[in-house]
Symmetry: none
Subunit: 238 residues, 2 copies
């Protein structure tokens, strides 16, 4: 049974979230402030965090950054639709997914399930990616195509794929992708990123024109389909 830490300052909304999650079979821990959330996260080691931006004390962004320093537990962000840029900032700080308010319980639970599904892939160490018939071994830097022929990826292509594979099935913000694959100097220029995504799709996707594994999240970033990681023979995604 998974444990979820809910960080939300409004008591009534917190109650709704708790009821919803408990009814779905999760254990729930609550925190009303960022400071309290840090303490609870460290002591309870939750499997997932649900964080509302716009907390009274300090920024939710800082909370995400702090937790990301020592935990890989997925972080889902709750954000009002009016704060689009904040959503991107949160993802850039290390959040894994977002749910915009107002949201339905079905959508929330679907995203929670999707995020938790990543957990078992942690043990597999994400070194082996399966794009249909094309397989990439990130550790050995080897790739083989449908007919067993070797597929060649360039160093930069491996770097981009590496960052995406770190959070399979979850969103990686463009700035984060740029920072980790290119360096802190070029987080503002996404042109090169688009070119490399294209060439990765050409080499790995069965039908590059209709991406099935390397997916675009418009305005935010990219993500890998969750079933590229070995061991997750899963159902359809949200």
């Amino acid at each position: 049974m998974h444990q979820i830490l809910v960080v939300e300052d409004q008591p009534d909304l917190r109650a709704v979230l708790r009821t919803t999650l408990v009814a779905a079979g999760y254990r729930v821990v609550e925190a009303g402030t960022a400071a309290r959330a840090l303490v609870e996260a460290r002591s309870h080691k939750p499997d997932l965090l649900l964080v509302d931006l716009g907390l009274p004390d300090g920024d939710g962004i800082d909370l995400i950054r702090a937790i990301r320093g020592w935990s890989v537990a997925p972080i889902l962000v709750l954000s009002a639709r009016t704060r689009e840029t904040e959503k991107v900032l949160a993802l850039d700080a290390g959040a894994d997914d977002y749910v915009t308010k107002p949201f339905g319980t079905d959508e929330l639970l679907a995203r929670v399930r999707a995020a938790l599904r990543r957990a078992p892939s942690d043990g597999h160490h994400r070194s082996r990616l399966v794009f249909g018939a094309t397989v990439v071994d990130l550790e050995r830097r080897q790739a083989t195509g449908p007919a067993g022929e070797p597929v060649h990826l360039t160093p930069q292509e491996y770097r981009v794929l590496d960052v995406l594979a770190r959070r399979p099935g979850l969103i990686v913000a463009q700035r984060q992708l740029l920072r980790e694959a290119w360096g802190p100097d070029r987080v503002d220029d996404a042109r090169g990123l688009r070119v490399f995504v294209k060439s990765l799709r050409d080499k790995l996707e069965p039908a590059p024109a209709i991406p099935r594994f390397i997916l675009t999240e418009i305005g935010v970033g990219y993500r890998l389909a969750s079933d590229v990681v070995e061991g997750t023979t899963d159902t359809t995604d949200s």
Copy 2:
């Protein structure tokens, strides 16, 4: 039971690491500074070191170099992900592996196990390499060509081949090759390496112009094809 020295300046993260490692059955010694780490390493003789870069006093890189001066215990480096050059520097200083923050406990433990497993088996590298019709016996320093005639390799050629053969099928970084085949002084000069790769290919490859066994990974290093090791047709081995 293995003993691990954890070098980490943040007390809370240190606590997380200790809990994780103790739960997995390791004995743990801790150090908060590089100076302290040197003392503990010398007195406890740990089987493995877990070093966080970015320590308050002195550089983590210097610590690695210092320990490498008198110990062969595997060193795992822990670091934030933003600095790509730091990774190269650490590995070049003698670190064995690199774990980026944030990390999952499963991933950390898997890498610890892998490092400990690799350590004693350092002497198990294959001594017989099969390049198609040309066979090299690394232990006896003898090689025979397609017609059974002897093939002569120079001492330095054997040294390069030795390093590559230690990790068959895996990429060996240029700097690592230079460090292990030439010495730490010449890790910056890859010109000689290219010359020796060329002469090795001339002597061992069936078609030197189209390398099939000694492969180039542009921007990274070289590697041996995994089927040069005896056991392609039969897997029996000592």
